[in-house]
């Protein structure tokens, strides 16, 4: 609920996003937007032997949603599909360094995770849980 949420790591990724762009022929690909604020994130993943070999995100929106996507994609390199599907929001929020984002901004921070879950469940052919990012 204050500028405390703009930690150094968030500002760093906001200013210099990693893994930004698209992949051609990704194995996993999904996108979603937050209708309230218009933030938009897409994630493309290429797998090799069921392990993330390349990952990119694209999108636009606030510093929180964009840096969180950048940070998340950084964290997913070399993970297995199973690990992707089990990745928790706590892992992401801890890395962001802002465990108490508050209800208004947490959706921004978790948008990329939601997109990851949508893509992974689609890839696995299993049904998406009600609140996939939680």
């Amino acid at each position: 609920m204050s500028d405390d949420i703009y930690k150094e790591i968030i500002l760093d990724h906001y200013r210099n996003p990693r893994n930004k762009g698209k992949l051609t022929d990704p194995d996993i690909s999904a996108q979603d937007n937050n209708p309230v604020c218009g933030d938009r994130i897409s994630i493309d993943i290429t797998l090799k032997d069921n392990v993330v070999s390349d990952i990119k995100f694209d999108g636009e929106g606030c510093a929180i949603s964009q840096s969180s996507a950048s940070i998340l994609t950084d964290m997913l390199m070399d993970k297995t599909v199973d690990e992707l599907s089990k990745f928790t929001k706590d892992e992401l929020l801890e890395e962001l360094g802002t465990p108490s984002l508050g209800p208004a901004r947490i959706k921004c921070a978790l948008l990329s995770l939601k997109v990851l879950k949508i893509g992974t469940y689609q890839y696995l052919g299993t049904e998406l849980p009600e609140d996939p990012e939680n």
Binding site: M1, S2, D3, D4, I5, Y6, L11, Y14, R15, V36, C37, G38, D39, E60, G61, C62, A63, I64, A104, R105, C108
Partner: protein, 409 residues
């Protein structure tokens, strides 16, 4: 009356004594909802402590007193907008419900397949979605008065739009994103020439300027109490008597009937025919008090105050790099709303960082997504002003925006 004359009134609003992290709240979101003066808050407590009871049917003293308080509030509201009679005023929950009431009752009995409803591109979702739904249901067409990027309506082709099957026109008096005042008197008079019935969404005008429904000549006129110093959960629908009398009720139940058997019922007189069930009694009474408070200030002073604040802000921000006020070119604006963009900083980041300084502004589409598309942005940051704001609030906003830049670059 200069801006400074209103400065002392922050004391009337207890929320400004609250501190968050040691800072007073700089409240710049009155277009969403306004703060409440002591008079209004106390009238609510006073009601519950001394008069609380059900109205209209009670024979005992407090019920008679409560009924009087409720109906006096209706009179106060009627005078405030210069209605011909207080019986033209129906209390609703909010402007949104009032619009839905009209869409659900008047429209189906008066429009038929192929008819058109005219709206504008600057409507709040509450004055857009109800018409989309009824249009789908009855196979009506929706047509839109377009806007230019300065926030004003394009009115040269009105005659074109009003021809053919146009039967109903619903438009906002003042834009909640840009503050633009639409020339509704003119538009309505042209609409009436074509036999078109009209609704004015006055949610953003009644709080900020003096209005006169007889001069405006609207058929329906709606607004919300919470945006004009009044309580939660109360709104007003004003309708010309002849129209209201011929309308079917909207909701059915206690208080709106005169006679009921197992298979049939007759309705009460207007306006009670439209107030089914126990109403928000205290909401109406508190809104009456809010109007007393506004009358005391004088609505022309309120308008002037906001215009002066807006001018002060425009001047102050003119030097700020990469700062853009939407609709600034438009001179016909209440001055109660300042929507802006600031560099490529996202409105949510701006609002979050301002919140760290205890400054409350709104970021988003302001329930006006179609207008956002027109402005070419997914969202804006909006600072909106009311009677209790002063120059120092704008100075704080200015300082806050410096902070935004320093955090984000």
């Amino acid at each position: 009356m200069s801006i400074s004359n209103f400065q002392d009134i922050k004391k009337d609003f207890p929320i400004f004594s609250r501190k968050i992290n040691g800072k007073n709240i700089i409240y710049l979101d009155s277009a969403a909802t306004t703060q409440k003066p002591n008079e209004v808050i106390n009238s609510i407590s006073d009601y519950y402590k001394n008069y609380n009871s059900n109205i209209h049917r009670g024979i005992y003293s407090i019920s008679i007193e409560a009924t009087e308080l409720y109906e006096n509030a209706r009179n106060t509201l009627a005078k405030f907008i210069n209605a011909n009679s207080s019986r033209e005023l129906v209390f609703t929950r909010n402007a949104t419900e009032a619009i839905n009431l009209v869409a659900n009752t008047w429209i189906p009995s008066n429009l038929k397949e192929g008819d058109s409803i005219i709206l504008t591109e600057m409507e709040h979702h509450s004055n857009l979605v109800p018409w989309q739904i009824i249009a789908k249901k009855l196979k009506l067409n929706l047509k839109f008065i377009k806007i230019q990027t300065d926030g004003s309506l394009i009115l040269d082709n009105l005659e074109e739009l009003f021809k053919e099957n146009a039967k109903f026109l619903s438009l906002t008096h003042v834009s909640n994103v840009l503050g633009t005042i639409n020339p509704i008197k003119d538009i309505i008079s042209k609409a009436h020439n074509h036999g078109i019935t009209t609704l004015v969404d006055a949610a953003q005008s009644v709080p900020h300027m003096s209005v006169d429904v007889q001069t405006i000549d609207s058929d329906f006129f709606v607004f919300s109490g919470h945006k004009m110093l009044g309580p939660s959960g109360i709104g007003v629908l004003h309708t010309k008597k002849k129209i209201l009398e011929n309308m079917e009720p909207f909701l059915y139940g206690g208080d709106m009937i005169s006679n009921v058997s197992l298979n049939d019922a007759q309705w009460n007189e207007i306006p009670w025919k439209f107030e089914a069930g126990t109403p928000n009694i205290v909401g109406a009474i508190g809104l009456g008090k809010a109007v007393d408070y506004l009358n005391n200030l004088g609505m022309s002073n309120v308008h002037k105050h906001e215009q002066e604040l807006y001018s002060y802000a425009v001047e102050k921000f003119s030097d700020l790099k990469e700062f853009k006020i939407f609709g600034l070119e438009n001179k016909n604006s209440t001055g109660c709303v300042m929507s802006f963009s600031y560099s490529d900083f996202h409105p949510h980041d701006i609002a979050s960082i301002l919140d760290g300084e205890s400054i409350a502004v709104r970021a988003g589409h302001h329930c006006a997504q179609p207008l956002m598309e027109k402005l070419g942005v997914p969202a804006t940051t909006r600072a909106s002003f009311y009677v209790y704001n002063d120059e120092s609030d704008i100075d704080k906003l200015f300082d806050g925006l410096q902070k935004v830049r320093s955090v984000l670059t």
